[in-house]
């Protein structure tokens, strides 16, 4: 436990904000099982965010972002995810924001690597009301490790804008990380860290970086369900200061049982 708190302290010390408020999740290396479909609803409410319209982007304060993510397992080393982003603001109703597609490959478990490794790439469009950069691409290496009750994951993601004001920024660096501990079989608690440091060739000042730390909990109530809940704190000016996030996922195996079943 002592180690746990030391790591938490280090993460907290490094924490500075947050990525887009549509999908707030640190990826693990696992992919959805072959023939299975995972349907997730990401619900993110910005309790204290940007109150002004900046560069045509709607304020985030008190905005509710609902994202539907559908992921199809292809084989034991790949999956494809598809996103539908929506935004709900007072007086504006529900608005479609955009869609992304995200293929992902992993090192199969049977290769017996000491850590889980996968590589995700995500490309898609979002309307200018949500982001001035309307076409973006991301590549996300994922490394994770579950050992005993501890879980560690890092996602040093790289982003590239294809259309929008950040086209000339080049490649941006948006890492995420997670550490958690299995308190019981059903309850896992820990911290998730999200950041956007700006261009890798010109790291933004701390003031302009997005950094966010989420104390989060995972509920492992059933192999068919995924439940994650967290509250994010964004200490920098460029970050929404308080976000409440929830992920509820349901796995459908369509009769494709795992090997061991």
């Amino acid at each position: 436990m002592k180690f746990f708190f030391i790591v938490l302290f280090l993460i907290a010390a490094a924490a500075a904000t947050a990525q887009g408020n549509y999908e707030i999740q640190v990826y693990g290396a696992d992919t959805v099982a072959p023939g299975n479909t995972m349907v997730e609803l990401h619900s993110n409410f910005t309790a204290d965010g940007q109150t002004r319209t900046i560069d045509g982007v709607a304020p985030t304060d008190h905005a509710e972002h609902e994202t539907i993510e559908i992921t199809q397992g292809i084989n034991d080393w790949s999956e494809v995810g598809f996103y539908i982003f929506t935004l709900e603001q007072s007086g504006e109703g529900i608005q479609w924001v955009g869609d992304h597609i995200r293929p992902r490959v992993r090192v199969p478990e049977k290769w017996r690597w000491p850590v889980g490794v996968s590589l995700s790439t995500e490309v898609g469009y979002q309307r200018a009301i949500a982001s001035p950069d309307t076409w973006t691409w991301e590549i996300r290496p994922i490394v994770d490790k579950q050992t005993g009750r501890w879980y560690f994951a890092v996602n040093p993601a790289l982003e590239r804008t294809w259309h929008g004001p950040d086209v000339n920024q080049g490649i941006g660096f948006s890492p995420a990380a997670k550490i958690s501990y299995d308190f019981t079989k059903q309850i896992t608690g820990g911290f998730e860290y999200y950041a956007d440091y700006g261009s890798i060739t010109s790291i933004a000042s701390l003031h302009n970086q997005q950094q966010q730390l989420f104390p989060a909990i995972d509920l492992n109530v059933s192999p068919d369900w995924e439940i994650n809940f967290g509250v994010g704190i964004g200490p920098t000016a460029a970050t929404d200061h308080w976000i409440v996030k929830a992920i509820v996922g349901r796995r459908f195996d369509w009769g494709h049982k795992n090997r061991a079943e």
Partner: protein, 482 residues
């Protein structure tokens, strides 16, 4: 037939009846290597009933000419033309040599351990003394690294049994039953329970284990490959049959952890014996469920000419190699896979519907539970709330009938095994039966099985789940005679 000096001959025929050129060459090279090693071995001491002797001396001049000789050594084995593994095995072959003994006729087995760690061989299903049984928990001696021993026992009961390493694997997935140390032990019965024209031995195993996250939240062992008689499907010799022939399949599940379901399209299995013991009702079934360490002897009447696959009903295991081709004479073509059948198995099909008549003298509850140790760890297993070796002793009274009540409160099925005895199934999930004698029974998750044990073989008696990862994580207990 025995030919001194060539262990693959001493060991008897391969399960498929005759050695292939490849296995002969492999055996010959292993023998040459073994001989070379023997010459280099220095001061290795063997434990034997005749007293310690240098290993080389014992190999050349065993105190009692053995009926069989087993040599444990690392080998490279070809599961298929594309998949070779390195594992420990008996006499350079997988499965190990088939040992055919006669019930009631004393047997002598010489064992040489060429590995650099101690080993032990368990004679699974035999009612023999502790010294010979092959379980260090009971007090059987281990065979030290690079040493030998000789085991003497009088085989009983008859039927299909097997022998295998009883060493712990712990987290080493190259040890214990994850490796190739297993083989068929067939004790010839005085009377055959059924008529048959041909006999085929089928030994199942899973290979290249790795840890994987499981649906129930803890680590589990998964496998890359599976085999029948040491070969992946498509890389063995088809079993040739004739129309109208009655083929007796002797099936052993030597997997470290996996329950397997087997089917042969268009055919039915008439089950004659479970764990070597004849069953009261020789029921016919389309699918066989066989847990780790279980044995099934079943006759198939070959009445559907064609080319078929005898294999796992689940495509994932079949694709990993668990299948073998059954080919009728004068038939050719693409082998037909087993159908997708909803698996069903009930031991009671093979028992008497009436309950066990004799009342138990004592009842011993055995409650199986697990303790979560993290999503990245194996569960800790407990019997009556305690993990081996911290379990309370379970006391048997000689000559008395003990009702063992296996209550599985976990979410996993467990193939539990009792050493040196067998038991009669009394009830399964509350439904009574009688006449089925076994030494391994699968207790399904959340259910209770009752079985009667007559304590007639004094000495420490190990009871454990036969899934290697479970027994290594505390799922064992020792019965002691009062």
């Amino acid at each position: 037939m025995k030919v001194p000096g060539t262990y693959f001959n001493v060991a008897g025929p391969l399960p498929d009846g005759s050695p292939t050129r490849r296995s002969f060459l492999r055996g010959a090279s292993c023998f040459a290597a073994a001989t070379m090693f023997s010459r280099q071995a220095n001061a290795a001491i063997a434990r034997s009933s005749a007293g310690p002797l240098p290993l080389e001396t014992q190999l050349q001049n065993p105190p009692t000419p053995p009926d069989y000789r087993l040599e444990i050594a690392e080998i490279e084995w070809e599961l298929s033309s594309k998949r070779r593994i390195r594992t420990a095995a008996y006499n350079g072959q997988i499965p190990g040599p088939q040992l055919r003994l006669t019930e009631g006729k004393p047997a002598t087995i010489q064992i040489v351990n060429r590995l650099d760690h101690p080993e032990i061989v368990h004679w699974h299903g035999q009612w023999i003394p502790v010294d010979a049984d092959g379980s260090m928990e009971e007090g059987s001696p281990m065979i030290p690294a690079k040493a030998g021993t000789t085991v003497h026992f009088t085989p009983r009961p008859s039927g299909l049994h097997w022998y295998h390493t009883h060493a712990m694997a712990n987290r080493d997935l190259k040890r214990g039953l994850y490796c190739g140390q297993f083989g068929v032990l067939h004790v010839e019965p005085r009377v055959n329970p059924g008529l048959y024209d041909a006999e085929q031995f089928i030994v199942l195993h899973d290979w290249e284990p790795y840890y994987s996250s499981s649906d129930d939240g803890s680590l589990m062992v998964n496998y890359v490959a599976s085999s029948i008689n040491g070969r992946m499907m498509g890389h063995d010799t088809p079993i040739q049959v004739h129309e109208g022939q009655r083929v007796l399949f002797h099936i052993v599940n030597a997997s470290a952890t996996e329950v397997h379901w087997l089917a042969l399209t268009g055919h039915q299995f008439q089950v004659l014996a479970l764990d070597g013991a004849p069953v009261p009702t020789q029921a016919k079934v389309g699918v066989l469920r066989i847990g780790p360490a279980e044995r099934i002897s079943a006759v198939v009447t070959m009445n559907a000419p064609g080319v078929w696959i005898l294999g796992e009903t689940r495509s994932s295991f079949r694709n990993a190699g668990m299948g073998t081709v059954i080919q009728y004479s004068n038939r050719s073509g693409v082998p037909q896979e087993p159908p997708m059948i909803k698996p069903y198995w009930d031991y009671r099909l093979f028992g008497n519907p009436s309950p066990v008549v004799n009342k138990p003298d004592l009842t011993i509850p055995l409650v199986f539970t697990s303790r979560f140790k993290g999503h990245g760890a194996l569960d800790q297993w407990m019997i009556n709330g305690k993990s081996y070796p911290d379990t309370d002793p379970l006391i048997l009274k000689e000559g008395q009938r003990h009702r063992l009540v296996f209550e599985n409160r976990s979410v996993d099925d467990h193939p539990v095994h009792l050493h040196r005895h067998n038991f009669e199934l009394v009830s399964i999930k509350g439904a009574v039966t009688s006449g089925i004698r076994k030494d391994v029974v699968i207790v399904e998750a959340g259910t209770t099985v009752e079985a009667d044990l007559v304590a007639n073989n004094p000495g420490n008696t190990l009871f454990h789940c036969h899934q290697q990862d479970h027994m290594d994580s505390g799922f064992m207990a020792l019965f002691r005679y009062a």
